[in-house]
Amino acid sequence: MSNTVLNVVLKAGARFKSAVCDAQVMVIKAPPGEHSLACGGAAMLAAAATAPADATLDPALAGETLIGKRYVNADESLELLCTKGGKGTLVLDGTPLEIKQAKQLPSSD
């Protein structure tokens, strides 16, 4: 768990990947300042980074992240889009993220 405290600035459009499963996310919106973003119990990595060899999925945080779903914190100041699914649970600053309710939109094109 020691590597979950790595704090990063989350910018809209930035992409992160899990260090312990296949999950990938893109930031849709984010609160200002530095935050710790983790998946499956390990800090998420920049898209191009290499995962540390010793990182393993924490079974307590293996609630699965689903492709195409949006994940938000309690006040919805953070919104992530899962661009690739994986086994780990997404966690921001120690609190697991929730799936945002899908919008009912009429198809316009």
């Binding site: 459009g13 492709i67 195409g68 779903k69 316009s108």
Partner: protein, 502 residues
């Protein structure tokens, strides 16, 4: 951030689902990605700065959109209906480039060393080959799509849409994998139109099968709907008019069709009313958008359509002619000429703001104001509940003796005359007033109406300043291929007539 992510996600989640159908040809999302990545790899080697397409609707269009994205260059679909000279002028503006052609369009292109021609058939060959791994560049500010606008005067403007604009539109208005396994959308808008681009991006993100029709024709459209069990379609108003006319009074036997979206011009109220009667089970959506806004910014949804059609209250009934309310992804304001934000029922200029709004042209730069608002140059007003009504283009307003006159209400008045089949109202040069109101009229077959009678018809409904000073009768009005009336052509005729008279 890169729109290639849209295809990556669809191929990842539903790789075996059919992505695109064209005649006998079918490609799955996995195959579409293989084709796009293979083309991207060849683009990277070629040094092309743009990937252009000179083709009708075909699977090469979605392949090219995503291939350009994977390669990190702009995709530039060209209008194959332009003249040979116009096409080659546009090619000159994007060279060095790779250009996808079909056997007919290849003959329109002048040979030059800095433009590599690729046959559509080669682009689409052997989708089953091994994937070429390619990482799409992540610069959100990179240009994803460049569209030449038709431009009423001078050279066509090159509108640019960045990855962040298109991604903002898709993520803001479409739910990933929203389509059911059996869903299919019939795409008839040409690939060089913004609606052709957004159809590919939205459908791919929704994981919805795209059925392509090369050219619109009502019976072919209805046959394709039935054959492919089409659930969704996007059409421009003239297409719906032609479908409705083709059907006559017989309801369409298309039980799978659930949703019809339309946009790209003003929908005649009689057409939408008839269409709702002929397709009672279908959800109608009016989508208002512009090239510069990455497509849709306001939507009149199915419930709004039904409520308006069922209402006796004229204030609700007229919403069938509204473009609805802003989507959750944008804000819209109506302002006067001085920039003051207007309230309900006050007509002015429509402004829009949001991540999907590019409002930017090559050479001219960004047209956004300091707060990010884009002037659409459409005129309009909202009602008390925020429904937006459009009232023509700012450029089409007739300024008669300092009074702003919008052609729309005069056209509506003329169209209410039983003998009138079509009408377009434009400005005409006038010594006394600066500009005067002029109308071009198409009469219904076998019908008759005099100039005086039509002038009286307008006078009874509107102020006397709205009465056309000149009226000409024509066999047909000039339209572009997507059904937009070419006012500048009509205006030009009145200018010439006026100069001959003088």
């Amino acid at each position: 951030m890169n729109i290639a992510m849209i295809l990556d996600m669809a191929a990842e989640a539903f790789g075996e689902r059919v992505a695109v159908v064209s005649g006998e040809h079918r490609y799955t999302y996995a195959e579409l990605r293989v084709l796009a990545q293979r083309l991207a790899a060849s683009l990277k080697h070629s040094g092309a700065g743009h990937l252009a397409l000179l083709d009708v609707n075909s699977p090469a269009a979605p392949v090219a959109i995503f291939a350009a994205a994977y390669a990190g260059i702009a995709y530039v679909p060209l209008n194959y209906r332009l003249t040979r000279a116009e096409i080659n002028e546009l090619i000159d503006r994007i060279a060095p480039a790779t250009l996808i052609v079909n056997p007919e369009t290849r003959a329109l292109v002048d040979a030059r060393a800095d433009v590599r021609l690729l046959d559509r058939a080669d682009v689409l060959a052997s989708a089953a080959t091994d994937p070429v791994a390619i990482e799409a560049p992540e610069d959100p500010r990179a240009v994803a799509v460049q569209l030449f606008t038709s431009g009423t005067t001078g050279k066509p403007k090159a509108a640019i849409l960045r990855h962040e604009n298109l991604m903002s539109y898709i993520v803001g208005t479409v739910e990933f994998a929203a389509a059911d396994e059996d869903d299919a959308i019939l795409v008839t808008v040409p690939p060089y139109h913004i609606a052709g681009i957004s159809a590919v991006l939205s459908s791919t993100y929704a994981c919805r099968r795209m059925v392509q029709l090369e050219n619109f024709e009502p019976s072919a459209w209805l046959a394709a709907c039935a054959r492919e069990c089409v659930s969704n379609a996007f059409i421009v108003p003239t297409m719906l008019s032609r479908i409705v006319e083709h059907l006559g009074d017989a309801p369409a036997a298309l039980p799978k069709l659930r949703a019809l979206a339309y946009g790209g011009g003003k929908m005649p109220q009689s057409t939408i009313e008839r269409a709702m009667r002929l397709f009672p089970q279908v959800d109608f959506t009016n989508a208002y958008g512009l090239t510069e806004t990455s497509s849709t910014i306001a939507v009149l949804g199915p419930d709004d359509h039904r409520a308006a059609a069922a209402s006796e209250d004229p204030a609700i009934r007229r919403r069938l002619g509204s473009v609805g309310k802003p989507t959750a992804a944008v804000e819209i304001e109506v302002r006067d000429e001085g920039g003051r934000v207007l309230g309900p029922e006050e007509a002015g200029l429509v402004f829009v703001r949001g991540g999907q709004v590019s409002g930017e042209y090559l050479a001219l730069g960004s047209q956004l104001d300091g707060d990010g608002w884009f002037p659409t140059r459409d005129r309009g007003y909202t009602d008390a509940e925020g429904f937006l009504f459009l009232d023509g283009r700012a450029d089409d307003v007739i300024v008669r003796g300092g009074e702003n006159i919008s052609p729309g209400e005069i056209e509506d008045a003329l169209l209410s005359h039983p003998a009138v089949a079509d009408a377009a109202v434009v400005a005409m040069p006038d010594e006394q007033w600066g500009e005067a109101v002029a109308a071009a009229i198409v009469l219904k077959a076998g019908a008759n109406a005099s100039v005086a009678e039509l002038q009286e018809c307008v006078k009874q409904r509107l102020r006397s300043s709205r009465v056309p000073q000149a009226i000409v009768f024509k066999e047909a009005l000039p339209y572009n291929e997507l059904g937009k009336v070419l006012r500048r052509v009509i205006r030009q005729e009145f200018v010439q007539a006026a100069s001959i008279a003088a």
